[in-house]
Symmetry: C2
Subunit: 313 residues, 2 copies
């Protein structure tokens, strides 16, 4: 039985692939793999191969069934049943289904699921830049913008598991319409695609020089005014959203993660400047804006952290 | 010793007067009084008369010293020492001082202080519209806009006791400047003075017909288009701020309190409509926007609730 309690299985479900791993209590990834996903496939065609790959990974790394299974996925997830109740437009077959229940049955171990950004916050708290912090918001900046909250040293999931959606905080009632139905959402100003849009709008005939947010970041680091302007706009919007958040919650740090966070100080510096403008000075004083630490592994480690948390470890 | 444990002293410190009271565990105000305050006076000239009036009230209502003393005051307050560390511009002598330490010494009982809106949230949780709720934000709409948060069935004070400042969440980066240093803060759109300003801007030659937010509310209830417009604007802004808040926190209710909340449905209805526009539909579904219940007594009862909470009752 010792083997069983020493490791969990973790799944980070994305729109094009699922990362899977075997993770120990300390957050060490003992084994890992990746399974391709056809986002238009049916539910069992998506989660069946994930279950099989996990079983192989477990068998290959020795020992019996895992102590538990943690799953991170995009969208709104009922933390009690693991059912994906909304926001899974990118993988339609997930709507109303529980990959946790499916994997629990196939691998005969308890399984839990949570929003991927909430998982990433749990990972930063347990293994990353959030260690020792009592209150922080992790913002994941990528194709979209997600968030996960830690309050009182614990992940705050909200009443129904939906907390953390800072990407859809409205920053301007007359701002651009958002697919969520609102206007001026943070995601419209500071996501990867928004940064590239802003670059192209400023760059004129040079627009083709950068096609991704990290290419824009490279130009910004070299001092390109149009690229700097694109990140200044994203940073301003992030700072406004985070300023409101710290006024409301009096947290001690904002962690910036997700793929676009690899831009580094080119993004963080304008966020810090903007946060100081939009937060109450006394409140802003105590707040650090720092990079998340776990990068691409945040989702996988967060799914593991979720399983360990639920197991009471 | 039985007497001692059955009641607390409560102080609701305002800019022109302090309400004081003796309150039992169930939230019944056994005795009450009011002490005038000269906001420009020195610290001891303000809190000395409050201490004397409280001593008289305690003596007159029989029994020994109270089990504890709770104090609600405007501004940012260190919950450990009760020191008012900022935001007390209306009573300059309070800056850097602890009315809690002063009253504890004079009345020989432990004393604690908290922001007045946080106290009001504690009161609604213990005795009012928040009973049985696990997560809500109380917004106090008056001359300014304050807020108090309840998360996981407990008052959330933040890392340094500063949480709840929804009045200074920025709703528009190009909005009107706010004395706090930011722009487009909720307070600029939905406070009592903002509602009167909006009425006067819309009412033209009829501007003098209403000079207070509740007079504007009376006209709005009678169907006056300019008065309805003033409340629609305030409700829109409140709904945008609350929409962002529920997206971030996934709470179950927003309570509207403070003097302007006496406007009733004329204010609440546009808030509900606007919240549904700015919150993620799935998140907004579960959220009720309701009136706070304790009215003018929220501050006093909240100060008492704070004392009972700290006493471990």
């Amino acid at each position: 039985m010792k083997e069983r309690s020493e490791r969990v299985a973790a799944v980070d479900l994305g729109g094009t692939s699922a990362k899977i791993g075997i993770v120990d209590r300390s957050g060490t990834i003992l084994a890992r793999d990746r399974v391709s996903i056809d986002a238009r496939a049916g539910f069992e065609d998506i989660v069946g191969p994930v279950a099989m790959a996990l079983a192989e990974l477990l068998a290959g790394s020795g020992g019996g069934p895992p102590a538990g299974i943690g799953i991170g996925a995009p969208g709104f997830i009922d933390p009690d049943t693991g059912t994906i109740v909304g926001g899974s437009e990118n993988i339609p077959a997930m709507q109303g289904r529980s990959p946790a229940a499916y994997l629990a049955g196939k691998l005969t171990a308890p399984a839990w699921a949570d929003n991927d950004a909430t998982c990433a916050a749990a990972a930063e708290l347990a293994y990353g830049a959030g260690r020792g912090l009592r209150g922080f918001l992790l913002v994941t900046v990528g194709t979209g913008i997600g968030g996960g909250l830690v309050l009182g040293g614990k992940v705050w999931r909200g009443m129904r598991g939906f907390a953390g959606e800072i990407g859809h905080v409205s920053l301007d009632p007359c701002g651009p319409p958002c697919p969520c139905g609102s206007r001026g959402c943070l995601e419209q100003y500071a996501s990867g695609p928004a940064i590239v849009r802003a670059w192209k709008a400023c760059a004129g005939t040079r627009a083709a020089e950068a096609e991704s947010p990290l290419e824009v970041a490279r130009l910004a680091r070299a001092g390109d005014p149009a690229a700097l302007e694109a990140f200044a706009g994203a940073g301003r919007a992030l700072g406004q959203a985070l300023g409101g958040t710290v006024n409301l919650l009096d947290i001690e740090a904002c962690l910036i993660g997700g793929g676009v966070a690899d831009a580094g100080e080119v993004l963080l510096e304008p966020v810090r400047r903007s946060l100081r403008r939009y937060a109450y000075p006394l409140v802003a004083e105590g707040v650090r804006v720092i990079a998340a630490e776990l990068g691409n592994d945040a989702g996988l480690l967060g799914a593991a952290a979720l399983a360990w948390e639920r197991l009471g470890a």
